[in-house]
Amino acid sequence: MKNIGNTKKNKKNMRKDYITMAVVLVIAAVLLFVFPQKASSVLTISRNYLVELVLVLPAVMIIIGLFSVWIPDQMVVKYMGHASGAKGIILSLVLGMLPTGPLYIAFPMAAALIKKGAKRSNIIIFISAWACIKLPQELIEIQFLGIKFTFLRLGLTIVFVIIMGIIIEKLIEFTDKKNIKAGRS
């Protein structure tokens, strides 16, 4: 599944993250020691944000886990392979929004989909939705930035992502045609 092949690399990255965290905490402690008059405001602010995260983070993690088990990657490829028109666009959006892992596994999937004959516009929509409209993440966006901000940003993003998919497809078709013509003459 998600961690195929590079669990070792994941472990190494994780260790790096924990070391960075330790360094940051030490630097923070030193800074607060040097500027004691700032300590109370810094600690209060950090605590408030931490509380807000702790309230939702475990639940979001569980949702991510449930998604990845109940909706496997293979299903995404299966449905994306042969879909076009409005149905293809909606499917690319919805499948991209499912939290099936980080962006770096979306690229190989997209490449496989291109080989399978999926439309380029749908691939672009799929990748973009994958990158910026992940469902569990949006729950956290609502928590921190409010429902109005989140929905407006998502709505606009969806519209622009669809436009972008279509523009890129047309541009690539156009330049490919030109290349073929140039090659002939």
Binding site: K38, L55, G146
Partner: protein, 166 residues
Amino acid sequence: MKSIVSNYLTAIIINAISLGWLIFSVVKSKEKTKKSLKIAFKTFIKIIPLVVIIIVFIGFLLGFIPSNFISNIIGDKAGFWGIMVTAVLGSVLFIPALISFPLAASLLDGGASVMSVAAFITTLTMVGIVTLPLELRELGKKTTILRNVLSFIFAVAIAILMGVIL
């Protein structure tokens, strides 16, 4: 900022969704539930250091940097250039979206404009300088460059529209 009630409301709804689905999952298949929780736990362990770092960073950002400094650079007065600053930052930085939202909220609290914050989040997720080599390899030069350039332009457009509407 939002009121305390609406804050808790979101948290309650999120927890209710996860609990409801969890119960459904347990009833349907114990094995799949176990696997899900394992993935959840792994993801959690992986994200803890990033969460701690960003929380500390937010504390210092708002505690040390005066808010008129933030609002001068990326506030309402900064206008278009404020958006460009955060849009470029969002393109270059590699912060998981999950923890970028608290950071974005802290920038808003610190005096940043809605436009700047929207541009930041949108380029952060849509434009990937760090993942560029992989994207080039898998999708080819033309698609990759077009996608990232258009994403940047559209992110700025989304930000401006949001500023106009909100």
